[in-house]
Symmetry: C2
Subunit: 458 residues, 2 copies
Amino acid sequence: MPRKKPIHKILEAKSIAVVGASSNPTKIGHAILKNLLISGFEGKLYAVNPHSKEILGVKCYPSVLDIKGRVDSAIIAVPASVVKDVVKQCAKKGIKGLIVISGGFKEVGNVKEEEELAKICDKHNMAMIGPNCLGVVNMNKHIDSIFLPTYKMKRPKLGDISFITQSGAVGSVILDLLGESDLGVSKFISYGNAAHVDESNLLAYLREDDQTKVIAMYIEGIKNGRRFYEELKKTTKVKPVIVLKAGRGSLASKAAKSHTGSLAGDYKIFSSMLRQAGAIEARNMEELFDLAKIFLQPLPQGKRILVVTNGGGEGVLTVDAIEEDKLELSELSKKTIGKLKRKFPKHVVIGNPLDLTGDADAERYRVALENVVNEKGIDAIIVITLFQTAGLSSEVVEDIMAISNTTDKTLVVVASGGEYTRTLMKILESYGIPTYESPSDAVNAIAKAHWYYQKRKN
Amino acid sequence: MPRKKPIHKILEAKSIAVVGASSNPTKIGHAILKNLLISGFEGKLYAVNPHSKEILGVKCYPSVLDIKGRVDSAIIAVPASVVKDVVKQCAKKGIKGLIVISGGFKEVGNVKEEEELAKICDKHNMAMIGPNCLGVVNMNKHIDSIFLPTYKMKRPKLGDISFITQSGAVGSVILDLLGESDLGVSKFISYGNAAHVDESNLLAYLREDDQTKVIAMYIEGIKNGRRFYEELKKTTKVKPVIVLKAGRGSLASKAAKSHTGSLAGDYKIFSSMLRQAGAIEARNMEELFDLAKIFLQPLPQGKRILVVTNGGGEGVLTVDAIEEDKLELSELSKKTIGKLKRKFPKHVVIGNPLDLTGDADAERYRVALENVVNEKGIDAIIVITLFQTAGLSSEVVEDIMAISNTTDKTLVVVASGGEYTRTLMKILESYGIPTYESPSDAVNAIAKAHWYYQKRKN
């Protein structure tokens, strides 16, 4: 049994050295230092660069060996040719956590150089993320080592979802989309070539991380299928794991190989392995997000869905999706039907969909939701709010948030549209209510969450 | 053979009366008049309301019969109970085009009242859109009769795509999304209960409309399947038609019935009918948009796709989608490979995907695209631009636009992210270059466009 890699030295570092720090704003080593500063890292920060005395107000040392105090982690952004020397120096200094941003290893054929780095880390009981990666973000510890400028890529808010990504490019898109939405993030880890710390190690780490409630992964290839399966199985017993696997076909595995140097393997086997391990598979990036956020809600314990809408057409589209995903339409009790009939004008369709019709205002939504939210026989509620109608005011958003606190059913909101709609959806999302642009996305997320509920129960 | 309904009197009206116009800003009859005014309608505008003399500066008449000049079309927003009288007055006045916004007909069981309206229209050779609809937009004639406030729902730009929607709610989402994107629109028609003018009539109208290059439809049920098939078949021979059918399952058809009073019919039959007629089916609203805009590009005449990317991971996801949609990866000629090898640094992967890698700048994209854009053996090019990287500047957008003019291959761009990315994507889209948030969406659109190309050729 191999020793546990000290990943916490990277993600929970109290002191960080940026090796290759630069005063030139176009350099990666500059952006990393700058982002650590503006993310509000509260620990000790060191810059390492033989040609500077101070960068961005941070004292600069010729090498890590010249630093006096303890250093938990080093973020290395130097040319590939000198990475090995830096890693050796880190070992000597007693630094246990490394992030190697630099590319130029296995992905371009330099397999041996990469293996040597891993050997040094094993020998000295260090943990290394990378090489050829984007770095990490730990929102809980204000650590942001990502080297991309904040004006091009927004940063997320603090929350419960952690992301693991093999590809840096995909990772940057994930981070940017997270920043744009109001989904909260706990950890973000871009692990690149996985020369040392791999997807299985990261799963094990996040499984035990109390601040992570949901894990979302982007994977191209895995190093050890058996080990990954075991870690995954253990993890899905305590928290949901959503996996987006790229390199599914034979053409794509070829492309993945030239990208991070990893073999994609047989997709069908991988896919059924995921299912068996209780993980949820996403087919593309949108679905990765759609599935991750459904788990911010209570799990749907059954298949019975109620649809509340102010648009008949959207209601029909939702029912289509419910049928296609093999979920069911819930039925309202006679008592509730009677109550709603007394409260609503005649043209409101008291059924499922509960069609409040195009002239529905926030009040009609409130009455409808208050009366159904604790109805037996409903496992999840999909609330469709078309804000394009004249009568529906933004008040409905606050009502939905308030009502969501009074129930343990899954509650999601569907709306799509321009800026007005998007602004309101972000408010809901920041409150932990997942929002979806289309009925089929919402239904799919609920179906997969219910599958996970069943799987975990058995 | 029934007489052709004078739909042009509605969509190309030179004089419009708003019946039920109101000075109360919360009333539909107010919003319609206001939107006609701010959309810049250049024809004659009349308000009809027995209680006012002037509304929003427009002269008001007690009834249409009191208007002196010719009136092409009347937009009717009065209670259901008086609609019939108004329609009769319109007939007497010689008005040939009607839009009945008012609900309260077949969708709530008042079948007979609705049929009577249609009979009056037939008798007097009028065309009626509705009842229970949102109205129409003709961007070419500055006609906007939609009653939803512009702050809640943006309006689109002038362009080549026309939309037909049965559901008003879905229509309002479509319009809002169109306004938010920079896709250009020619006509938008919400036809509601289809008591008189139906989907087949509208198809025939748009087929002959030179300003419409692509037709996108949202349908719940159709009135006459055979007739629809014939019109569809004729139309797809001259321009692409994309159809989103709601009410696919048996549960959903029930919901559709209580919504617009139409029967959804057997979905499988409908679906294969669409294929046979050469129409392209969309499974949800996003796909309706994704497919509509691909036709702004030259049709892909073959299956060979080249992927150009600055993100390896996104490249792999694209290849996955290409394989899953049964398209092919194109091969670059030896000559081009040699040329690119000489021009690019060693770590650039000259293959397919052509991976320009994370440090690619706009210049590297320009060189790559200029060298491949007229290469034989490529039918479509997917350009992935991850703007989250530090090196890629917005210049690449202008380069892509310029290069798109030098080729007759299909060219699309994939990028997703926050505001920065979205702004750049809108610039591309307003230039007629379709953009997609995920590789699989782009590949799916190309695959369907190629299917249409084949179908039309044979």
